[in-house]
Structure formats: structure tokens, C-alpha cells
Amino acid sequence: MTEPLIAVQHLGISFPNNQVFKDLNFKIEQGDFLTVIGENGVGKTTLIRALLGLVKPSAGAINFYPNRKAIKIGYVPQFRNLDQEYPLTVEDFVGLNIRGWLPWLTKAEHRQVQTAMAVTNVKKIKQRQLGMASGGEKQRAYLAQAIVQQPQLLILDESTASLDNEMKYELLDLVQNLNQTSNITVFFVTHDLPLAKQYAKHYLALRPGQQSFGEMADMTVAQLKEVTNV
């Protein structure tokens, strides 16, 4: 049994007039590739916001091991409205997520940016204006920005939704590679069940008021469909 990175216990999240979760339980192990599946509106993004600490649980707890501060989280959000005129180059965009107080990047930080671009396969287009990049290139740049701080946990929120089939698999191959070689734990929200089946180690299927959690190896795509159907 691998060490847990996050354990979610009896989690409840409610907004006025809307209870999103009641008694949600699952854990994310170190080096895990967990996919969260479910219909729109079932609370997948809310769950991410709770993990990020942007939404307070109304019941239960999210426990990080050893503690929340020790876990760096990289996040690729679902919507980013970068239009064609978005001015920054891919390289400058990736570097935005480097923290610190110096106005310029140090040599070590510069290397971090180069590494993140190399593993996400955007180094060749690093001088390209991000607004002019293709959908797949943009997603890879977002991924590069999310991993530039070398997070332990990488959260992907429907990152493949706007991509064609070939690009989807290309992106997920990169993520799988990060998961296997850099031991980055992946939390992948999607409603693309075949994709989830191919890449994930565990699944968390959400339905209003219900959840199921388990090993992906035990499930077929048809069974996944069954556990997510309302």
C-alpha cells in the first residue's frame, strides 16, 4: 500500500439551497493517477476548488499528508479566455507561475522554465505568441505553467475537452509520462470515459448524492458509464 497524499473523509459541501456533496470519501495515493468522472453539474469543479482551499467544507475534512503547506499543487483550469491577441510568448506565460520577489528570473528559475517547457513539448514554440498557438499547444503551455513549480499534485480540469482526438492522447501521454517519471500525482477531471479508462489508476465516479471509488483495472468503459449515469 502506497502512502496517501490526500484523504477526503465524510466531506460535505453545501451552498445556500444546494448541497453538492454529502459524506464523500476517497483518497489519493502518492504517484496516483485518479480520474474524476461524472455528468456536468455534479460538482467536479467544486471538488477541485475544495482541494485548492477556495471552498470551505461544511462537513468532514480534506487531510493532506504530511500537511497542506508541504504539498505544492499545479492546476490546469478548464476555462482560460486567451484570445488571438493575447500578447505573451509561450515562454513568458510559463514563467508567470515562478514565485518570488525579484523582478527578473534567476538562472535556476530560468532553468525551471526551460525544463517545464521541455517535458511538455513546447520548447520549440517558446517564442510563439500564445494567442496565435493552436488549441493543443495552448493546453501544453498551460500544463507547462502548472508544473513549473514542480508540484506534487497536478489537477487537470477537463483539459482535453476542447481538443481533437489525436491531441487529447498526445496531452495525456505527456501527463502519464510526468506521472511515471517525475512521480507527480495526477487528479484528472473529465467526462471522456475511454480516455479515463486508458490512463487512470483509480476512478472516482460522482452522481448526485452518490459516489463510487475504486481501481480502474476492475472497470470497463460500459461499467464506468453505468456508475456515472444519472
Partner: protein
């Protein structure tokens, strides 16, 4: 021309103003705050009139009004959809107040126009010092906040989810904009201030594609506009604001032309 003290003062103050407006402008454009900048210049006019009415300097009145109102606008218009309407409301109120204070303080209309449109001759050496000090403060704060401000301005969603305190950054930035508006109003006048805060930066983003280069080019566009504007105003005896506005517009149009050639759209 440089043997005249008032021209020396104008060039010195103009240089400081071009540097801070060029720098702040890059973030104003990235954060879609052009309209707010325009409003702040009107608020600045009201503040100046208030300052005169109270017997203070115009700059003090402007600083108070622009800083307070930019924080209010920032609080009121968290939602993008509501931003324009709430800015319009605040703007209307402040233009009214400006006229009121001007009338109460019994100043002539020529004084009003000098607040609105700027006056090269009006810049004394003490003004230059004040402008330099305020510019220095604005630049220092910007430097200290550079990375978080850059992240929040060019990728608001990424910055928010990465745990940056974006509300705090936003408020500090609005205060910096308010200070820059008050400073720049000394030379180009409050009504045309948004030109220096928006057009050089808006033009620069079409030519270069990193934040540091945008700041450099935006400062360069602002400096050329201010220096050339002051010179042309001196030789023609026409208002400096007119020349600065025209030059910056030319830069912006050239940038749009360049973009059209580049992407063919």
C-alpha cells in the same frame, strides 16, 4: 529652449511621467482598465478643484479623490459585467463635483482648463520634485510587486488558483494607477491623461511579446510622445496635450497596421 527654466521643468517632469505611465500602462491594458483610467482622470479634475477650494495644492486634492474613488470602483465592480456601469456612475458624480468645487472656489474658467488640459508653463521646480518623489514611490512598489502583479494581470485565472492574494494585488494596483493619474495630470492635464496610460502600452503589445519588453517599448513610445509634444508645443505655441495625443494615436495606428500585416486580418 532648454535655457528657459519652465521648459527644463517641463522636460524633467514629462520624463518621469512618461516612465511611470509607460510602465503602469502595460498592466492597465492587460487588466482591461482603460475605461477606469479615463474616469480617474475626470475624478482627478474634481479632486484638483476640491484641493483649490480647500486651499491645498491641486495635487493633494487629486491624490485624495483618485485614490479613494479607485478603491471604491474596485470594490463596486468585482463583476466584469457591472464594471462599466458603475464606473460611469462614479464618473458622472465626480464631474459634477468638480464643477461645483470650481464654482465655489471662484476660480476663473482658464484655471479649469489648465487642470483639464495641462499647462507646461504651470510647472514649477517644486512640482518637479513632487512628481519625481511620487514616481519613485510608484516604481518602487511596482518593482516589489512585479511577479505577482504580472501573473495576476496576464493570467488572472492562473494567479487566482495558484493561491495569490489577487484582491490585495488589485487594490494596490488601483492605488498605483490613481497616483500615476494625479502625477501625470500635472503636465498633460487630467482629461488627456488616459492617453499616456493606455496608448503607448496598447501599441507596444503588438510589437513585442514579453512583459519586460512591452514595458520598455511602452516607456519609449510615451517618452517620444512627451518630448516631441513639448518641443512642438514650444515652437508652435499650441497646446502640448494636442501634440502628445496625436503622436500616441499615430503609434497606436501604426501598431494596428503592423498587426494587420503580420496576421493578415
Amino acid at each position: 529652449m532648454f535655457s528657459l527654466a519652465f521648459m527644463q521643468n517641463a522636460y524633467l517632469a514629462g520624463t518621469f511621467i512618461a516612465i511611470i505611465c509607460g510602465t503602469i500602462g502595460v498592466f492597465v491594458i492587460a487588466r482591461n482598465l482603460s475605461f477606469l483610467t479615463h474616469t480617474l482622470s475626470e475624478i482627478g479634475f474634481a479632486g484638483a478643484a476640491f484641493g483649490i477650494f480647500m486651499g491645498w495644492t491641486a495635487l493633494t486634492g487629486m491624490l485624495i479623490f483618485t485614490v479613494v474613488s479607485s478603491v471604491i470602483v474596485g470594490q463596486m465592480s468585482v463583476k466584469q459585467s457591472r464594471r462599466e456601469a458603475s464606473i460611469s456612475a462614479i464618473s458622472a458624480l465626480f464631474i459634477g463635483l468638480g464643477i461645483l468645487f470650481l464654482s465655489l472656489s471662484n476660480q476663473t474658467s482658464s484655471y479649469a482648463t489648465s487642470i483639464l488640459f495641462g499647462s507646461v508653463i504651470g510647472i514649477a521646480h517644486a512640482d518637479v520634485i513632487r512628481v519625481a518623489v511620487l514616481s519613485g514611490i510608484v516604481l518602487l512598489v511596482m518593482l516589489g510587486l512585479y511577479r505577482p502583479l504580472k501573473f495576476d494581470s496576464f493570467d488572472a485565472i492562473g494567479a487566482k488558483v495558484s493561491g495569490l492574494w489577487t484582491t490585495g494585488i488589485s487594490v494596490v494596483f488601483l492605488v498605483l494607477v490613481a497616483m500615476s493619474v494625479s502625477v501625470a495630470a500635472q503636465i498633460v492635464g487630467s482629461l488627456l491623461i488616459f492617453i499616456l496610460l493606455t496608448l503607448p502600452a496598447a501599441a507596444a503589445r503588438y510589437f513585442v511579446h514579453t512583459v519586460s519588453k512591452m514595458i520598455g517599448l511602452s516607456i519609449a513610445f510615451a517618452l517620444v510622445g512627451v518630448w516631441l509634444g513639448l518641443y512642438l508645443s514650444y515652437v508652435t505655441n499650441l497646446p502640448v496635450s494636442f501634440f502628445i495625443a496625436s503622436i500616441e494615436c499615430l503609434f497606436y495606428l501604426a501598431a494596428l497596421g503592423f498587426q494587420r500585416l503580420r496576421v493578415g486580418s
